[in-house]
């Protein structure tokens, strides 16, 4: 499809127009064409365990309420009163029976239905049809192993189809360390902070940028690994590991896997019972998954704006667009619900020194994304596209060490900008399409690697 936006992405020569990182008109189009149609991560079910529990979230620039109703099912509603738009809920999280607007007093049940209207008789002669004025619901909601997703578009494919084989990558973050399905929970409180950069640069970074080690040189010199030394990750454990880029270009997702040699021994030098717990979990995982246990998760991005870390620390991170040059980052931390407190504390302290605005690794990322955004503004530079050609030639050589892995054909050993190329190709498809049928039609044309 030769649309206006496809012209900004040159898959063949691997160039991307700088304007997509700085132009406010393009940003407004993204809200209509991407964020109003895509599946967006809105929260984790462990945040709202009981009836009436709610959590305020976002879908793009839209504020939404994630709430569990009396029947135990989860609803997602736009957080604005149907009467005059005032936020009907203004607390980050809590438990309630009603959302009552503080402007004129319309109140809504936890199922989103309008239940109370002041002046129903005197002002509306009892003729207001309450069933037509409930909170605006999303079109679809899906719960994938505790991660809750929603979309405003009734024509969207199912979440399962949307994720495709990317779900196996997500599993590495959402399954328990011993390989049992699901079992994750998030700690209370979401880190939220503002960065002066375009949301796509962060999504691109997490989709599998193995080419930016210089960004984290200082933290590697210091050594903040989980056991408190060794660069910034489990380097002692993954010394013989191969980093693998995995791309699902048809749908715009991708990430990094850590492939351990089949004979690997868990050598994580964690202290005492924490080390014992990890070693026991690793053994159980091997028994359960067989040769596929050699695959550990790294980072990943689900198009458009949900990213995650699957090894250590475990994190879900969402790049909420605010403007072309501003993003509000939300970061959740994942733990095995059934792990002992000592293990949670150990993982949590590592997560906080690694991630977030004070995290010794991530705080350097923000500086780079800001600079890249600033570099995208200007009458002269905007005619000079960015280069995404890293390992363009090698893209046709999938990693085949694990032929039984469901997505073995999607993998490439080492660094490539293929996942970023896939991400921007996907972006252009969504931006040029007007509906889900067109999106699907164009996605089907993407065969193999980009």
């Amino acid at each position: 499809m030769a649309g206006e936006f496809s012209a900004m992405i040159s898959a063949k020569t691997s160039q991307v127009d700088r304007k997509i990182f700085s132009d406010e008109e393009i940003f407004r189009e993204e809200q209509r064409r991407i964020f109003a149609k895509a599946w967006i991560f809105v929260g984790h079910e462990s945040q709202i365990p009981n009836a009436g529990d709610y959590f305020l979230s976002r879908m793009g620039i839209d504020p939404v309420i994630l709430v569990r109703d009396k029947s135990g099912s989860i609803g997602v509603f736009h957080n604005s009163c149907r009467h005059r738009g005032m936020r009907v809920c203004r607390y980050d999280a809590g438990n309630t029976r009603l959302f009552t607007c503080s402007y004129h007093g319309w109140s809504f049940g936890i199922d989103g239905k309008l239940v109370g209207v002041p002046g129903m008789k005197e002002g509306y002669c009892n003729k207001l049809d309450k069933s037509e004025w409930g909170l605006i619901p999303v079109a679809k909601i899906a719960n994938y192993k505790g991660a809750i997703w929603a979309t405003w578009d009734a024509d969207a494919v199912s979440l399962e189809e949307y994720l495709g084989d990317m779900r196996y990558m997500l599993d590495l973050a959402l399954d328990s360390h011993d390989g049992t399905e699901g079992g994750s929970e998030v700690s209370i409180g979401v880190q939220k902070w503002t960065i002066p950069s375009n949301w796509k640069l962060s999504a691109e970074n997490f989709i599998g940028d193995l080419y930016h080690n210089i960004s984290h040189r200082s933290v590697d010199m210091v050594g903040i690994g989980p056991e408190g030394t060794s660069q910034r990750r489990d380097e002692g454990f993954i010394n013989n590991a191969t980093l693998v880029s995995v791309g699902f270009h048809e749908r715009g997702h991708g990430g990094i896997n850590v492939y351990l040699p089949p004979e690997y021994v868990d050598a994580r030098p964690y202290p005492g019972e924490i080390g014992e717990w990890f070693r026991a979990a690793d053994k159980a995982r091997k028994d359960r998954l067989g040769e596929n246990a050699c695959i550990l998760g790294g980072v990943g991005t689900v198009f458009p704006n949900m990213s995650f870390r699957a090894n250590q620390p475990r994190q879900i991170i969402v790049w909420n667009p605010v403007s072309a040059t501003e993003t509000e980052v939300w970061s959740w931390y994942l733990f095995d619900a059934k792990s002992p407190d000592s293990v949670k504390a150990f993982m949590r302290e590592y997560a906080l020194r690694y991630c977030g605005p004070a995290g010794m690794t991530e705080r350097d990322d923000m500086e780079n994304w800001q600079g890249a955004t600033e570099g995208s503004v200007g009458g002269v530079v905007e005619s000079f596209p960015y280069n995404y050609a890293y390992n363009l030639a090698d893209d046709e050589q999938p990693f085949e060490a694990l032929p039984n892995l469901p997505y073995a054909k999607n993998a490439v050993i080492g660094a490539t900008e293929g996942n970023a190329r896939g991400f921007y190709r996907q972006w252009s498809i969504w931006m040029d399409a007007t509906n889900w049928d067109e999106i699907r039609r164009e996605q089907m044309k993407i065969k193999g690697r980009i």
């Binding site: 999280a93 809590g94 409180g189 880190q191 902070w193 040189r217 504390a345 500086e367 800001q370």
Partner: protein, 186 residues
């Protein structure tokens, strides 16, 4: 003991002395941070320090006590001991820590110093609960400027080497951090 301040009772004099020592300690501490004498700053922390910067949540009035995330359980901005603080200092000294390269111009203002525990003295082994407010101005590169304001609840301990910081909780008065990162101490 003769009162060092004319007209003050010995109890009042002791309280004044404590307040003087504590506030001088807090000013000196942030002076070292602003001047990037971070090794000396680390020497002012006890080895068993807990350093906690909680998140602040938007809560209803009747749940005001749930406004901040809990230490060593919930998510926080920072929640760590001395080892991690030492690592942060080391990182700031590498010269390739891009979030602070080129270095920021940082100024800490400390005020509203209030000694909360009446039992504290100034002898070795004494502990004092002290609350204060901070305002941190950061200016970096060409035109970046940010201000972070908040509260601090500290536990100070008098050692042979003088006062040391044994515990700090620094409450940033923002629920969404209106800055891209945190590269200083509170």
């Amino acid at each position: 003991m003769a009162s060092p301040v004319e007209g003050a009772s010995s109890v009042e004099a002791q309280e004044m002395r404590l307040h003087f020592e504590v506030s001088q300690f807090l000013y000196k501490e942030m002076d070292l941070v602003d001047r990037r004498s971070l090794g000396e700053w680390l020497d002012l922390l006890t080895d068993d320090i807990r350093y906690f910067v909680p998140l602040m949540l938007n809560v209803p009035f009747r749940k005001w006590d749930e406004e901040t995330s809990r230490p060593q359980t919930d998510t926080a901005w920072m929640d760590e001991g001395k080892k991690t603080l030492e690592q942060r200092v080391k990182q700031l000294m590498t010269g390739v820590h891009w979030a602070e390269e080129p270095v920021s111009r940082i100024c800490h203002l400390v005020s509203n110093v209030l000694v909360k525990s009446a039992s504290a003295g100034t002898d070795v082994g004494s502990e004092a609960e002290v609350t204060s407010r901070f305002l941190i101005y950061r200016n970096r590169v060409r035109n970046e400027a940010s201000i972070i304001v908040g509260w601090r609840d500290d536990l100070l301990r008098k050692t042979e080497e003088g006062w040391k910081l044994a515990k700090r909780t620094a409450y940033i008065n923002q629920s969404t951090l209106l800055d891209k990162n945190i590269t200083t101490f509170f």
